[in-house]
């Protein structure tokens, strides 16, 4: 007697590997007796087990492709729906979901695109996918708990040097050698498609975060981006400022801190020395 575990193992492999024959023998083959189906011809009794398994295979792949298209709308627009469907099918075969939470499905898309022959010369696509995944992470990321700026103003200014900031839990940093934000903006729904994005126009440095319910993508210069990286890794304010200023003498600490505070990017802070 075949066990449920066997059936589910075989069925799953049949769907993901397009090998219906593995499980075909477990499926009822309905015999149609001539003349039995009458009237509207409405019954589906004559379907073979092969065709019935295909319904499930199609449904899994179509709905998972849709989940990917929802998570990577710009990528989908850039390569076109037909090619995206093909790419998504290959993605699902290689990285089928291991959790029912599909809101973040596709974390391996950037790596996958780098190795996908048909697009591997379009290396900016992987970075577009990376930005879209970070956007999704920020969209669904934890809510900010609300930070009281007044706490800093009550502090002895001499202790500012030792402050360590924790950024918003939904904040992400990303850099690319391509103008990814321009590409992303030009491919938003309703955007006028720009034909003249120069892929060699230089790198971009981005911070992605959620302000209330809206995901924001902000462009930084390299000095500010580096400052964010240092602060994000737990460096004290003075340490981060000193390292950035040494490398980028034009760095404006006051403007950088204003930007961070005005956009409520801080979740909380602590003092390195108590």
């Amino acid at each position: 007697m075949v066990t449920l575990c066997d059936i589910q193992d075989k069925f799953s492999r049949a769907i993901l590997g397009a090998q219906n024959e593995i499980v075909m023998n477990e499926i009822v083959m309905t015999e149609i007796i001539a003349g039995e189906i009458t009237g509207e011809g409405d019954l589906a009794l004559g379907l073979t087990p092969q065709a019935r398994i295909n319904i499930y295979r199609n449904n899994s792949f179509i709905t998972l492709s849709r989940a990917l298209a929802k998570n990577f709308p710009v990528l989908c627009r850039l390569v076109g729906q037909n090619f995206f469907d093909h790419l998504a099918e290959k993605y699902v075969e290689k990285y089928p979901p291991v959790t029912p939470l599909l809101m973040s499905y596709g974390a391996n898309m950037p790596e996958f695109l780098k190795g996908f022959d048909a697009v591997k010369d379009l290396s900016y696509l992987a970075d577009v996918a990376r930005l879209e995944h970070l956007w999704t992470m920020s969209f669904n990321g934890p809510d900010a708990t609300g930070f009281d700026l007044g706490l800093i103003s009550k502090m002895d200014p001499e202790r500012f040097d030792d402050l360590i900031f924790k950024f918003l839990p939904n904040m992400q940093l990303m850099s690319s050698v391509f103008p990814i934000l321009d590409i992303w903006l030009a491919n938003q729904e309703g955007a006028q498609k720009s034909e003249d994005i120069d892929l060699d126009s230089g790198p971009c440095y981005l911070v992605i975060f959620r302000k209330a319910q809206v995901v924001e993508i902000m462009t930084l210069d390299l000095a500010n981006y580096t400052f964010f990286e240092f602060l994000g890794s737990g460096e004290t304010l003075s340490c981060a400022a000193e390292k950035v200023t040494t490398k980028y003498p034009g760095f404006n600490l006051q403007a950088a801190m204003n930007n961070i505070v005005q956009n409520s990017m801080i979740e909380h802070f602590e003092c390195a020395k108590n």
């Binding site: 589910q8 477990e26 019954l43 087990p49 065709a51 291991v98 959790t99 939470l101 809101m103 990321g141």
Partner: protein, 297 residues
């Protein structure tokens, strides 16, 4: 289990909550969107850490009773429930305190892979033991009764040794869970397998039914055969409304959900479908009005 913690949604129409309608629902308010009396969400869509889904559901929950309908627990899985997922479901159920929590009589996970489909089970003693143990585990973990939904299916397993309505009745008796009777699924499965839909429904026990689902389905030509696919992407069909009336005539009024998950229509269209369900519900005794209904949320 403390049965007093389970406050049922009254027997009026609700609809599936969609992000496209969040703003409209909040700006119009409960009176303006009557006859929609309650909302159902897919549990998994609210299992992210934060962000807009929670922001809107928190607000909508304040004005309406809520039902949480899961698609990811894979109750019929032979390899054991995904514990992380179960914990996630509990977190969101604890947070929103829905009036109903439901899942499916099917499986979706094998070898750790989630197939994103509700795949039918062979109806055997072994399956009964597996799904029964899984449902026990879920009800104990959540500390409440759940409803389980009858499947729509396109194939049957040779190893099945009992019929679907009997299998369902046995699950309900063994676990104490309730039935989410999806009338569209009954219709689709019966058409696809040549079963008698009225006989199927007549064999179920009215007192076990905690909710009814109504949805549209697609009719496809497939390998020269007509096949009905449960895609929740259109108006409820005439045949399903007829079967719904038959169901109400046997079971009395039940909370009834209009499910519409693809080709999402306007809120107005959902209101019209909800009103159609309400007008049928009013023909059977015991229907509560909308105002009384909301008090139970």
């Amino acid at each position: 289990m403390d049965s007093s913690s389970w406050v049922p949604i009254p027997a009026i129409a609700g609809v599936g909550l969609k992000p496209q309608h969040y703003e409209e629902i909040l700006s119009l308010g409960p009176k303006a969107i009557a006859p929609i009396g309650w909302f159902e969400v897919h549990t998994e869509n609210y299992m992210g850490d934060g962000g807009p889904p929670h922001h809107y559901l928190e607000k909508i929950r304040q004005d309406y009773p809520l039902s949480m309908h899961g698609v990811g627990l894979s109750l019929g899985t032979a390899e054991g429930l995904n514990q992380d997922h179960l914990r996630g479901v509990k977190n969101v159920v604890d947070r929103y305190q829905p009036a109903l929590v439901s899942e499916h009589i099917s499986w979706s996970i094998a070898n750790g892979v989630y197939l994103n489909d509700l795949i039918p089970l062979p109806y055997t003693a072994e399956t009964m033991k597996i799904i029964g143990d899984n449902i026990d585990l879920v009800q104990n973990f959540l500390g409440r009764q759940i409803l389980v939904e009858n499947p729509s299916s396109y194939l049957l397993f040779k190893s099945s040794d009992r019929e679907e309505p009997d299998f369902i009745n046995e699950i309900l008796a063994n676990t104490g869970c309730g039935l989410l009777l999806d009338v569209n699924n009954v219709y689709v499965s019966c058409q696809n397998h040549g079963w008698d839909a009225r006989d199927y429904i007549a064999r179920l026990k009215p007192e076990t039914v905690g909710e009814i689902h109504l949805a549209g389905h697609a009719v496809k030509e497939w390998h020269g055969q007509t096949l009905r696919i449960d895609d929740h992407g259109s108006n409820v069909s005439r045949e399903v409304w007829d079967l719904y009336v038959y169901t109400l005539s046997l079971m009395g009024p039940k909370p009834s959900l209009i499910e519409w998950d693809s080709n999402i229509p306007s809120l107005m269209t959902l209101q019209q479908e909800a009103e159609r369900a309400n007008s049928l519900l009013r023909k059977f005794p015991g229907v509560i009005d909308d105002q009384g209904a909301r008090k139970n949320g």
